[in-house]
């Protein structure tokens, strides 16, 4: 109801019914990352500033119920004349007027008051419009606001196009396309100078990558390489993959029950990604399933989201390596044995891997689809483009040992965590590994229940080191 009330305001309706269609038609605002606004109650938007069109584009991508409670910071001395312009801007954007001649502290107080009321603000930290898509340094105001409001996320947005549509010094806009990239929200802590500097550096890194993507004549962005640690439940794959992420030099990422980012072995703060939150929630639902039949759908969903997360991490964080507890592609293929034991063999395993990784797409009516309905569903929904890991570590531990470890954890036992099902899964993983080996993939098998964790970790670390070296040489 509150959302509906906020949409039914004059300002919001003017945006939705008049401004947005005009902006869409004339300036075709293409947005990436718009979902980063989801779940945020208020925020500070920062964007590069090259044109008066920037504000119009930023309001274009806001969730409708946030239009009335979002205010852009504008220079009063610039917009005060002519009078009609002042009234129009005031009516459509309800800006926070700041007088550039007076002290910045009073302006910051106004912004703080708005944030305290639960409203959001749009800030151009460069302070003025730059030229030719060049980013000027950030003013310290953003650092102060972020420090004083650690619970209000900063959402960086990169605007590409307005500098060509309506550059500084021109009055007539050209009807051209614009591209808007919304980066993940950032919760910042620290001193003003550090925050300002870090924010500027991160923003520069983001937009450099975006420019590479846009200009594309140069090297395109690619999904980061990932190493999957697979095995049956209780084999210690989560611990091992996390340990590998901490030991890997440079920037690495761990995807397991949680999502962690490491810089040279130190845990770095990672900004929230909506896909990860969704994945974690679905994963918990899967773990709570009492029967195997109820386990399947949430588990497949969780794995698909996990695979999508690879792309998102590659796009927004660009780590050198990702270490994953399991692999969506290999897990889905191996888990077929639980539901279709009679039909699961080396040949179907190989076919399933090819189909799930998008190498082949069988025709509708293929007998394989009759046996594996899930594959048909995934292909029809175009979800069969799962990523093949660069390297795979298989922890081959006996189900008996795994069950002992699971019991020692004292957590709730999942529907499939028994000797019978884990034995089948182990057999399936062995088939998957055989298939990977035969197709020339880089695989490391660590077997033996008696191996100490340190020994397992050192074997795996050596394997990853060699893998990274070979990858660099290639």
């Amino acid at each position: 109801m509150k959302k509906i009330n906020s949409i039914l305001r004059f300002q919001t309706l003017a945006h939705l019914l008049v401004l947005r269609p005009i902006v869409k038609l004339a300036f075709d605002a293409n947005t990436v990352g718009g979902s980063h606004f989801q779940g945020l109650s208020n925020y500070i938007i920062i964007a590069n500033h090259n044109s008066h069109l920037d504000t119009l584009l930023l309001f274009h991508i806001l969730p409708p119920h946030k239009i009335a409670s979002t205010h852009v910071v504008a220079a009063l001395d610039y917009f005060i004349r002519p009078k009609w312009l002042f009234l129009l801007v005031n009516c459509l954007f309800k800006p926070l007027w700041v007088d550039r001649k007076t002290s910045g502290i009073s302006s910051l107080k106004k912004l703080q008051a708005m944030l305290d009321k639960g409203h959001s603000i749009i800030l151009y930290p460069e302070g003025t419009r730059g030229a030719d898509d060049k980013l000027l340094g950030f003013q310290k105001g953003i650092g102060k606001l972020a420090r004083d409001n650690p619970n209000v996320p900063v959402v960086p947005i990169y605007l590409k196009g307005p500098e060509k549509v309506l550059p500084k010094g021109t009055t007539v806009p050209l009807p051209l396309q614009n591209f808007i990239t919304v980066f993940p929200p950032q919760y910042l802590e620290g001193e003003i100078d550090d925050i300002t500097e870090n924010l500027f550096e991160q923003f520069m890194a983001h937009i450099d990558a975006e420019r590479l993507d846009y200009q594309q004549k140069k090297r395109p962005l690619k999904t980061p390489d990932y190493v999957a640690v697979i095995g049956i439940d209780g084999c210690g794959k989560s611990t091992l993959s996390k340990s590998l992420a901490t030991k890997h030099p440079g920037e690495s990422c761990f995807i397991g029950d949680s999502l962690l980012f490491y810089c040279d072995g130190n845990l770095c703060p990672m900004q929230p990604l909506i896909t990860d939150k969704l994945r974690t929630w679905v994963g918990k639902k899967a773990k709570k399933a009492e029967k195997l039949a109820l386990y399947k759908v949430p588990k497949i969903t969780e794995l698909l989201l996990r695979d999508h997360l690879l792309l998102e991490i590659g796009r927004w964080y660009r780590p050198n390596f990702i270490f994953m507890d399991g692999s969506p592609l290999l897990n889905i293929a191996a888990w077929s044995i639980i539901y279709h034991e009679d039909s699961f063999n080396q040949k179907t395993c190989s076919l399933a891997l090819d189909i799930l990784s998008g190498k082949i797409t069988p025709r509708v009516g293929d007998p394989l689809y009759k046996e594996f309905r899930e594959l048909f569903f995934l292909c029809k929904m175009q979800l069969n483009q799962l990523h093949m890991p660069l390297g795979v570590i298989f922890l081959d531990i006996t189900p008996e040992t795994c069950i002992q470890r699971i019991q020692m954890r004292g957590q709730r036992v999942q529907a499939h965590e028994n000797i019978d099902k884990l034995s089948k899964l182990r057999k399936a993983y062995q088939l998957v590994i055989d298939e990977l080996k035969s197709s020339g993939h880089n695989v490391c098998v660590i077997e033996g229940d008696d191996l100490k964790p340190d020994r397992v970790s050192s074997i795996a670390t050596r394997y990853v080191h060699n893998l990274a070296k070979a990858n660099e040489e290639n």
């Binding site: 293409n30 550059p167 050209l174 009807p175 396309q177 082949i360 175009q382």
Partner: protein, 283 residues
């Protein structure tokens, strides 16, 4: 009118069929068919509702195409006024179409491009470097999206059946070529043009089957049926290089740009020639 309805149904079914075949994998093909649907929308509105409204749809397609093109090209700050001037040719195209007045359309737009755009380019600033280049790229944009789309309109008014068949056959030629280029079992083709000419029997047969409805002779049907794949091949060949220069990569779907240029160019480069052929050589 009854025949026309048959063509429309035939066309829609063909496009639907093509969409369902391609919807599984190639995003690029889906984007292509979506834009072809825009032209179908124009023809359908022209025939079923009103040509005046149909012209508005065509003007919108031209505007979208030009907007995309001028976003991708590199212009000097002083060319802004000429780019704005290029957009002014769209209302003129719409006016000429509303009045079904071909000669003023083709003559005045070309004269305006030749003299008007050049004048606007040089009057935008004092910098002489890059003047010829700027005139060239702006006029090329007008030729593609205003002259090309204008001919789509005039051919529709002249012979809607012919326009529908040309659109369908272009889709067919493009789709087959695209399938051949992405198929894992694709035959090894010695020449680039082969993957387009492979559809020649189908295009010729289509025009032969419908030549009584089109009121053209069999010879003319064979000529038009042959022209379609040849012109599509030529326009694609040109566009490979143009798209490379504009920075439209093969995976443009993810890069959010160049879709309309990639999709519509074979049509808007082929139709003017077919239009001239049918108005000069056919009975």
């Amino acid at each position: 009118m009854a025949n026309l309805s048959i063509y429309m149904v035939f066309g829609i079914i063909t496009l639907l069929g093509l969409s369902s075949v391609f919807i599984d994998y190639p995003e690029r093909m889906v984007a292509y068919l979506k834009h072809m649907w825009l032209y179908f929308l124009f023809i359908t509105i022209t025939v079923a509702i009103s040509p005046n409204i149909g012209v508005l749809v065509l003007a919108l397609i031209s505007f979208m195409g030009m907007r995309e093109y001028f976003t991708l090209i590199t212009i000097r700050p002083q060319d802004r006024i000429a780019v704005l001037g290029a957009f002014l040719t769209i209302p003129w195209m719409a006016l000429a179409l509303w009045m079904n007045w071909y000669h003023p359309f083709i003559i005045l737009i070309l004269l305006y491009s030749f003299l008007g755009i050049s004048f606007l380019v040089v009057s935008g600033g004092d910098k002489g470097d890059g003047t010829v280049f700027s005139i060239g790229i702006i006029v090329f944009g007008i030729l593609l999206f205003v002259v090309g789309n204008g001919h789509v309109g005039f051919l529709t008014f002249e012979s809607t059946c012919l326009m529908v068949l040309v659109l369908i056959t272009i889709c067919l030629v493009d789709s087959i070529a695209f399938l051949l280029s992405i198929s894992s079992h694709r035959p090894v083709l010695k020449w680039y043009v082969t993957k387009y000419l492979i559809a020649l029997p189908a295009t010729v047969t289509t025009f032969l089957v419908f030549c009584p409805e089109l009121s053209i002779s069999r010879f003319e049907a064979v000529v038009i049926g042959t022209m379609v794949p040849v012109l599509v091949a030529a326009s694609r060949y040109i566009m490979i290089h143009v798209e490379k220069d504009l920075g439209i990569a093969a995976d443009y779907e993810t890069l959010r740009r160049g879709r309309l240029i990639n999709s519509s160019c074979p049509l808007i480069m082929t139709v003017p020639i077919i239009f001239q052929y049918q108005s000069i050589f056919t009975q």
